[in-house]
């Protein structure tokens, strides 16, 4: 399951009635709407809209990110620099998200918050997203977490694309620098921009996930090359290295002295095939992976663990209608953990493995209403010292139901540089960290708003 930022499953301390507290809920919605209209509304990344003159719906399913439509993928492939030449203002974007969160069981409260039914501004993103100069473009983001009162450099992707031909085949190729493997990917079937980004700090999340599924986020930096051959075959290779601990701490990425350290470079690879059938059906199938040598707990006297992740992914989109859009994605990731060092240092098993499967489907009507569903399953070996769950099993199963309402982000919206979305989301678990009993304690209901805007967008005259 994608991205429920969490405080850990073990903090579910009390089972309670799932009936929503309607008074709290209504109050929360009113508070959120007040927050929305008090602030300025906004898009996926409205600075991209500011640069291109195109509304969010041109790039994104449901007129809001992160799911990309064909043009959105092209925009990213060509390095975030496309535009109509009218933009004279810096491509700055801000996104503010607030939500009401209810979990089925109360949880250990975060400082200044309750054990349940919390209303909070979850995140504030500030991004430089668009053309830097010449053919170089970027998506670089800083995050403020008002719940934990922390700033962090979160996602950085800098690209330069070129066009050419090899043996009569058109090639779009380029170089890329990023701080997370997969951040540069064009498809929403791989972990970084998978499914919805609507999450809450007050919800739990499963303990186990593959290395490629976010554990390296903002902790590494990598450089590599990519190429799209004939608009059909995409290949990419990038090498990452861990950033200095002091630098990470200064950038807001908490990295204690006993955090895992990765030795040498971490190679990341990606291959994908795509085809568009008569501008109606779009299909992509691909594979991706990485390999890393890890010093567990930064203990460098016992050798390294070798972690190998390999994933398969697929995307289908129905693109044949102006009012109806269907997007489906699926991925399976297999992680092989050869724990030569951890078995000595932490008494883990000599090897473990983890398998993650996720699939989702979104239907967007009129670029405005977007119901979605996702199923997710994690399975693996049993190893309490490695996966750190009560019974040592990483197994988790569940589903997500979500509906999003984005009234703006279309051609007839008040401004292309501003957008907002209202979401309601339910996350259900049938198994959580190896246990079916009490798994539903972690079930979570969220309702929230996200507002995005480009502060300089109104300065651009078209």
């Amino acid at each position: 399951m994608s991205g429920l930022g969490g405080v850990g499953a073990a903090s579910a301390v009390e089972r309670r009635d799932a009936t929503p507290r309607f008074a709290v809920l209504i109050g929360a919605i009113l508070t959120l709407l007040a927050t929305l209209f008090w602030g300025s509304p906004a898009a996926a990344l409205p600075s991209f809209a500011q640069q291109t003159g195109e509304p969010c719906s041109q790039c994104h399913v449901g007129a809001y990110g992160p799911q990309l439509k064909p043009y959105g993928r092209d925009f990213k492939l060509f390095g975030y620099v496309s535009g109509d030449g009218q933009n004279t203002a810096p491509p700055i974007a801000a996104i503010v998200s607030a939500s009401f969160t209810e979990t089925q069981a109360d949880r250990t409260p975060l400082p200044h918050f309750s054990a349940n039914d919390n209303v909070a501004v979850n995140s504030v993103f500030l991004a430089y997203a668009g053309k830097i100069a010449g053919g170089v473009g970027t998506f670089a983001e800083m995050t403020y977490d008002p719940v934990r009162e922390k700033y962090a450099v979160s996602r950085i992707d800098i690209r330069r694309a070129f066009t050419g031909a090899v043996g009569g085949t058109d090639v779009v190729y380029g170089i890329d620098v990023s701080n997370r493997p997969g951040l540069q990917d064009l498809w929403n079937s791989t972990p970084v921009f998978e499914f919805s980004t609507f999450t809450s700090s007050f919800a739990g999340s499963p303990a186990a996930s593959p290395l490629i599924d976010g554990k390296l986020s903002a902790r590494v930096a990598g450089v590599g090359g990519f190429a799209m051959w004939g608009g059909q075959l995409y290949t990419e290779f990038e090498a990452y290295g861990q950033l200095d601990r002091n630098l990470l701490n200064r950038a807001g990425i908490a990295t204690p002295a006993n955090a895992d350290r990765y030795q040498g470079s971490i190679p990341y690879w990606r291959v994908a095939l795509q085809h568009d059938f008569h501008d109606t059906h779009y299909i992509e199938v691909g594979a991706y992976g990485l390999e890393a040598e890890r010093f567990p707990g930064d203990v460098q006297t016992a050798g390294t663990d070798r972690i190998t992740d390999a994933g398969l992914d697929a995307t289908y989109q129905y693109t044949g209608s102006k009012r109806h859009f269907l997007a489906t994605h699926a991925t399976w990731i297999h992680e092989d953990d050869q724990l030569h060092a951890a078995s000595l240092v932490n008494k883990t098993a000599p090897s473990d493995h983890l398998d993650v499967f996720r699939a989702d489907a979104l239907y967007s009507f009129d670029h405005t209403w977007t119901p979605a569903v996702e199923i997710f399953r994690t399975t693996g070996t049993t190893d309490p010292k490695f996966f750190r769950t009560r019974n040592g099993s990483p197994n988790t199963d569940g589903y997500v139901l979500e509906i999003a309402y984005a009234p703006w982000g279309k051609k007839d919206s008040p401004a292309v540089w501003a957008n907002f979305r209202v979401n309601a989301r339910y996350v259900g678990y049938t198994r959580f960290n190896g246990q079916t009993a009490g798994a539903s304690d972690n079930n979570t209901f969220l309702v929230g708003v996200s507002a995005a805007f480009a502060p300089f967008g109104a300065l651009v005259k078209r």
């Binding site: 003159g53 043009y71 492939l77 060509f78 030449g85 058109d170 779009v172 608009g231 051609k411």
Partner: protein, 121 residues
Amino acid sequence: MSGRIVRIADAVAKAYAAGAVAGVVGLMALAGAAWAASTITVDQKNLKFSVKELRIAKGDSVEFTNSDDTQHNITITGQGFTANSGLQRPGQPFRAPFVKAGAYKVSCGIHPNMRMTVIVE
């Protein structure tokens, strides 16, 4: 005397006739040149150009139409020549004459995957 006048009149008539013929031929040549310089239409639909490659004669023009419901931004480069349509709204045509032989790259500034080539022969 009258015979001489007749010869002069005949000569004048022949000169007029020759002039008329020359004039007609000239006009036809001019008209032919105008007819030869034609305009070829290339449509933009579903974020694609209707052709990947277009061969035209020197002096021909290409009219780029926009059948999408989104705006485009035609950019033409080649042979030391650059043209930009500016913001091309749906339904709005953009016409570009090609007066020099060679290959020209045509793309859309907003939609980078829209690319085609015009070859002027």
